[in-house]
């Protein structure tokens, strides 16, 4: 793939949180990319590190306690992580100054592009909107910040955005509490799309909504995505949502990418035992077998990850070789990757 065809490229990203109790290894050596106009689904359970990845890309990690240990994030070729090392010593003033100057520079770049090139949608539409401002003004605000337009023009554009997400423009002067959950999420989408960004990071955008509303929102998101050619990174725990709108999908476990591929790869030819286990745990709408097949055990404590495969303790196909070291991400098919020493072999045979 040519370099310029990657809208977002994340390489070897490792993020840790330093807490009183210990170091939480939230994201470990994750690499992926998103092409323009593509919808990438990021699937994982609670605590898998999905939100940390999203926040790292948006430059919204709370520092401290978060520390980007290593890696690179490039948005349209622009490096967004500081290459100046963090100072270790207390008296390394020169290094500290260099680092913080670099971080200020990056923050300025981020302020430019946040909302314009990349924007984010949060899970809870209630807390994502300011309760004391008109919904219309909240959309207009984003436009005013990023584009050189007059107050009136911004308002007009905001009204258009409302219409676009299926809200009559005459509800411009209403407050978030006058809207239902689905309507609020529409407003959030309107804000995210207001400046026609190239990439939207959607963190569980429909989890808080009812199924019929979820269907409406997903449908709309897909339509708008087609219309504007926006790329979306969709974070979710629901493979149903992924099947609905994504082009590609990656599965995260304990801060590591365990499998990545097209929908066909993941839904029909999945190889990693964790992905397989996730699918087996879901009650099937079409097959009513009496017992579900859950994955046994729990995700390892992110403060105490093993040096070998982090899924080893719960794995049903493990072998002795799995304990020798961390599994390597291998390409099973073109574009289909899995990090499992046991399954990789099987995948090739199939």
């Amino acid at each position: 793939m040519a370099e310029n065809s990657k809208l977002l490229e994340v390489k070897n990203l490792t993020v840790h949180y330093e807490t009183d109790e210990g170091i939480v290894e939230a994201v470990n050596d994750i690499s992926f990319h998103i092409a323009p106009g593509e919808i990438l689904g990021v699937v994982g359970e609670t605590g898998a590190g999905k939100t940390t990845i999203a926040r790292s890309i948006m430059g919204l990690l709370p520092k401290p306690p978060a520390h980007v240990i290593s890696g690179s994030i490039q948005i349209e070729g622009q490096e967004m992580l500081s290459d100046k090392p963090e100072s270790k010593g207390f008296f390394d003033f020169a290094q500290k100054r260099a680092r913080s100057a670099d971080e200020r520079r990056l923050e300025r770049i981020y302020r430019e592009i946040r909302g314009k090139k990349i924007s984010m949608m949060f899970q809870d539409p209630m807390t994502a909107l300011n309760p004391v401002l008109y919904v219309g003004d909240q959309i207009a605000e984003v436009i005013k910040i990023h584009e050189n337009v007059s107050e009136a023009q911004a308002r007009e554009r905001a009204g258009e955005m409302l219409e676009l997400v299926g809200i009559p423009a005459d509800r411009y002067k209403e407050y978030p509490h006058q809207f239902s959950g689905g309507m609020k999420q529409r407003v959030v989408i309107a804000i995210a799309l207001a400046c026609h960004p190239n990439l939207i990071i959607a963190d569980e955008p429909t989890t808080a909504l009812d199924v019929t509303i979820q269907a409406q929102i997903l449908e709309m998101l897909r339509d708008l995505q087609k219309k504007f050619g926006t790329a979306i990174m969709l974070i979710t725990h629901d493979f149903g949502v992924v099947a609905e709108i994504c082009d590609r999908c990656m599965v995260i476990y304990a801060g590591e990418k365990v499998e990545e591929g097209t929908l066909e790869d993941i839904f029909d030819n999945r190889v990693h035992p964790y992905t397989v286990g996730l699918f087996d745990s879901m009650p099937d709408m079409y097959d009513n077998s009496l017992r579900l097949k859950p994955i046994k055990g729990l995700m390892p404590n992110p403060m105490d990850l093993p040096s070998y495969c982090s899924f080893y303790d719960r794995c049903s196909v493990r072998c002795d070789a799995c304990k020798d070291g961390a599994p390597v991400l291998r390409e099973i098919n073109r574009g289909h990757f899995a990090a499992c020493s046991a399954a990789a072999g099987r995948g090739e045979v199939e």
Partner: protein, 302 residues
């Protein structure tokens, strides 16, 4: 997927690994652990402990009796003999201040405790039962609150007369309304938790729910507020004494010492400085402790 480790992390890992116990820590124990790490709270607590020790061993620490007069040493400035100087009757101000801890601290604590029992009980009942019970209790409290608490105290002392227990009654009365409101708010926050419903669905009685679920979960916020009330109570004691109600001269109460000193402020400012300093240190110590306690017990409120 290789694990990236830097020397600093290895060090941190060594330091932290194995320190966190998997199970068996009550939220209270974890709060206390955080409290021990909180510098402001610890500073406040050390000062308070120090003051308590002074109060207990006052006769051993004070070089002179608090009533002991010496007509040859009137209004002397601070010296090695008289650390805080002497007053207009030649009494050693340091000794008087030391004895003063025996008034402010216990009265402040007792009033807070009494206020907690009465006001806390009212607040708990009001919050748990809600509706009309809540309305009646809170309207009464509102009426009391309409009177400034210092005026209420002065009025009560005026009716009851000067003296120790009268002062306790007056100051307690002044703390009740605040306590009721605080406890009610704290219990309200806890009451809406699903575990209260869970216990109700099992059939646990109202009284048991209050004692076993509401009070233990609200106690953090209540204690934090109570520590603040101790500080204000101490301030009220001194204010009343300064105004000549409650404990009056020759009682070595800090406010009373201050009141005696005020007419000599121009010629002997030390007579005002030192008792004032004692009040300030004590009050600040309680506030520091209270703030630290809040940070430690309820990290969300930070």
């Amino acid at each position: 997927m290789s694990k990236i480790t830097t020397p600093a992390m290895v060090k941190l890992n060594k330091k932290t690994k194995g320190r966190h116990k998997e199970t068996g820590n009550t939220p209270m124990q974890e709060g206390l652990k955080r409290l021990r790490k909180n510098k402001t709270a610890m500073a406040g607590m050390i000062i308070i402990l120090f003051l308590i020790i002074i109060a207990i061993f006052a006769p051993l620490i004070a070089p002179y009796g608090y009533q002991e007069q010496s007509y040859t040493e009137v209004r002397l400035g601070p010296s090695l003999q008289h650390l805080f100087g002497t007053d207009h009757l030649g009494r050693d101000i340091f000794s008087r201040c030391v004895y003063g801890t025996r008034y402010s601290l216990p009265i402040g604590l007792i009033c807070t405790l009494l206020g907690l029992v009465i006001g806390g009980g009212l607040g708990l009942v009001a919050a748990y039962f809600g509706g009309r019970t809540d309305n009646i209790i809170m309207r009464i409290i509102d009426i009391i609150q309409a009177i400034p608490s210092i005026l209420l105290c002065i009025a009560l002392v005026a009716i009851l007369g000067n003296g120790m227990w009268q002062l306790v009654v007056a100051i307690t009365a002044g703390t009740i309304q605040g306590m009721t409101k605080n406890v009610r708010a704290a219990v309200f926050m806890v009451r809406n938790n699903e575990y209260v419903n869970s216990s109700k669905s099992i059939g646990v009685s109202d009284f048991q729910i209050m004692i076993r679920h509401l009070v233990p979960n609200a106690v953090g916020i209540i204690v934090i507020n109570a520590v603040g009330v101790v500080a204000t109570s101490i301030l009220t004691i001194s204010s009343l004494s300064y105004l000549g109600v409650g404990l009056v001269a020759p009682t070595p109460e800090w406010g009373a010492i201050l009141a005696e000193g005020k007419q000599y402020m121009a010629v002997a400012p030390h007579m005002v400085y030192f008792p004032g300093l004692m009040i300030a240190i004590t009050v600040v110590a309680f506030y520091l402790f209270g703030n630290g306690l809040r940070d430690a017990l309820d990290p969300r409120l930070k």
